[in-house]
């Protein structure tokens, strides 16, 4: 069975249930956490690979907890020709996938750290960040 890649998005008020534990224990899923950016009382994201018979039930449980579940089919990339390294995205990107190199002040994009939240796509003044399906 191929693993399913998904993104979980937690709102500020998501309950503090031990969700990973529940997914393993109650739904018998095999979990590989690829990225996690979760802080108490803040919005957070987690990218997971899930495998198991009760996959759909597991997702249902997550949704019941107020967690938004999204398949990881999209990818964000940078149009190098449009980017002028202004830096406007670097303070907004939650995972530092977009960051400033010092002292050159060039903006680097590390897609490995990108959780496809797409904040940069909205924020980039030059429309240099694009979504690919």
């Amino acid at each position: 069975m191929a693993p399913n890649k998904i993104i979980l998005r937690f709102g500020e008020n998501t309950s503090d249930q031990p969700i990973i534990y529940r997914l393993v224990k109650d739904y018998d899923l095999v979990i590989n956490i690829l990225k996690a950016n979760v802080n108490p009382n803040k919005e957070g994201t987690m990218v997971l690979e899930l495998t198991g018979e009760k996959y759909e039930e597991g997702l249902g449980y997550l949704r019941d907890q107020g967690i938004r579940v999204q398949p990881l089919a999209e990818e964000v990339f940078r149009n190098e020709e449009r980017c002028i390294s202004c830096g406007a995205c670097t303070g907004i990107c939650p995972t530092h996938a977009l960051s400033l190199e010092r002292p050159s002040m060039e903006v680097k994009f590390d897609s490995d750290n990108c959780i496809v939240c797409q904040l940069c796509v909205k924020v980039c003044p030059l429309k240099a960040m694009e979504v690919r399906f």
């Binding site: 002028i84 390294s85 202004c86 830096g87 406007a88 670097t90 303070g91 907004i92 400033l100 010092r102 002292p103 050159s104 002040m105 060039e106 909205k122 924020v123 003044p125 030059l126 429309k127």
Partner: protein, 401 residues
């Protein structure tokens, strides 16, 4: 003996390929190493650069006459209105103008995907732009309506004329409120979640001529990838020296420039339509200004580094919009560029909106033009007001007759 050079002497050196030109970044190390006097002796020109959103920008266009002729009363380019309350087929397209029917902030925060700045960029890219016009019709200008497609080459003139560019220094924006705000300083997170600044600091043109000793009306500059000139001081030209409550000086504040140049020789890589989420559209403008090292005083001015230059920290959550005093102090550009500043005792991340790598590229390009002998310096016809003129900003009061 004091060093004194004239524009003519420096231009002779440029013509004979002997001028020594450094960027405002390179000159810092030279002065540290050799001292002011020796550096002023060695160096003839220092180049500066900045590439940032500059809202007070736009272009005067002349479309040529249709048959029959028309006194264009209302004009749109790709749906974006241009001001045509001037002669028959002239118009001024402003960078921040939005297309008719743009949802603006109705669906907050609005996206502002297209506007005047983007039309300017499309024209520079050689694209065909839809021109629509309406008029009431006169005996000499009978046509009342037209719709056609036009390119930059088709026009008689396209003169970039930016009434307020190249801010000497700019605010560092923060947000003390408890909600996310969408500003021309980008997205500012609540409760001092982040800070944005917008200046090239030590490379910025007017921070290298804080007292307006050399930059004035007629100064030839790098503008939008081509050649331009300083036309006048910019609007809101307040070249004072900023001070904190205790009277300590934090260097130059708010001088601005009005610049002009032929759009047709500019380049689409150096004038970019720009969108700010929840705020609007604008144009990112590239400007590079050469500073002739006339004497040691000029050399002292161009040798400033990010450690010596400060941005005032301003709350955009409330103080800015409500025109309230904001006393959050200053951050040096060295601190800002390090990525962390301290505000109200709290360490917060700081990010730029102005491209430092591009500013560096502009200063280097201008240096290359001058070294090749292609670009001579112009002596200003008139110098601009400086802090000595004590210009105070006027406020608009809301009142009846």
């Amino acid at each position: 003996m004091a060093i004194e050079k004239t524009y003519a002497e420096i231009n002779e050196k440029i013509k004979s390929g002997k001028a020594v030109v450094l960027t405002a970044e390179e000159v810092i190390g030279l002065v540290e190493e050799k001292g002011l006097t020796e550096a002023a002796r060695q160096v003839d020109v220092v180049t500066t650069g900045t590439f940032a959103p500059m809202c007070s920008s736009g272009v005067f266009l002349n479309f040529g006459h249709s048959k029959p002729k028309m006194k264009m009363q209302k004009v749109w380019l790709n749906g974006v209105p241009a001001y045509s309350g001037i002669a028959a087929v002239d118009a001024y397209l402003g960078a921040t103008e939005l297309p008719e029917g743009d949802p603006c902030n109705n669906n907050y925060p609005g996206e502002f995907r297209y506007g005047g700045g983007h039309v300017i960029q499309d024209l520079l890219m050689g694209k065909k732009v839809k021109l629509e016009a309406t008029a009431y019709g006169t005996d000499c200008y009978p046509r009342r309506e037209l719709e056609t497609y036009i390119t930059l080459d088709d026009m008689n003139e396209a003169t970039l004329f930016n009434p307020r560019n190249s801010y000497q220094n700019y605010n560092c924006g923060v947000n003390l409120s408890n909600r996310v705000i969408y500003t021309y300083m980008g997205v500012l997170k609540p409760n001092l979640g982040n800070a944005h600044y917008c200046s090239a600091g030590q490379l910025s043109p007017l921070l290298n001529d804080p007292y307006f000793l050399t930059i004035g009306m007629g100064t030839k500059i790098f503008l939008g990838g081509g050649i331009g000139y300083v036309a006048w001081n910019g609007t809101q030209h307040f070249p004072e020296i900023q001070k904190d409550a205790a009277g300590h000086s934090y260097g130059p504040a708010g001088g601005t420039l009005s610049v002009v140049g032929d759009l047709k020789q500019m380049n689409a890589n150096w004038l970019l339509g720009t969108s700010f989420l929840g705020y609007g559209v604008t144009l990112s403008v590239s400007i590079g200004i050469p500073i002739p090292v006339l004497n040691e005083e000029v050399m002292r001015c161009v040798s400033v580094s990010d450690r010596d230059l400060y941005a005032p920290i301003v709350d955009y959550g409330e103080a800015y919009g409500q025109r309230l005093p904001s006393d959050l102090g200053f951050a040096s550009y060295a601190e800002l560029k390090s990525g962390t500043i301290t505000v109200n005792g709290q360490k917060i991340p700081a990010a730029p909106l102005s491209s430092y790598p591009k500013a560096r590229e502009i200063a280097a390009t201008l240096k290359e033009w001058i070294c090749k002998g292609d670009f001579l310096l112009t002596e200003p016809v008139k110098l601009l007001p400086s802090y000595r003129d004590g210009i105070q900003s006027k406020k608009l009061e809301i009142r009846g007759l």
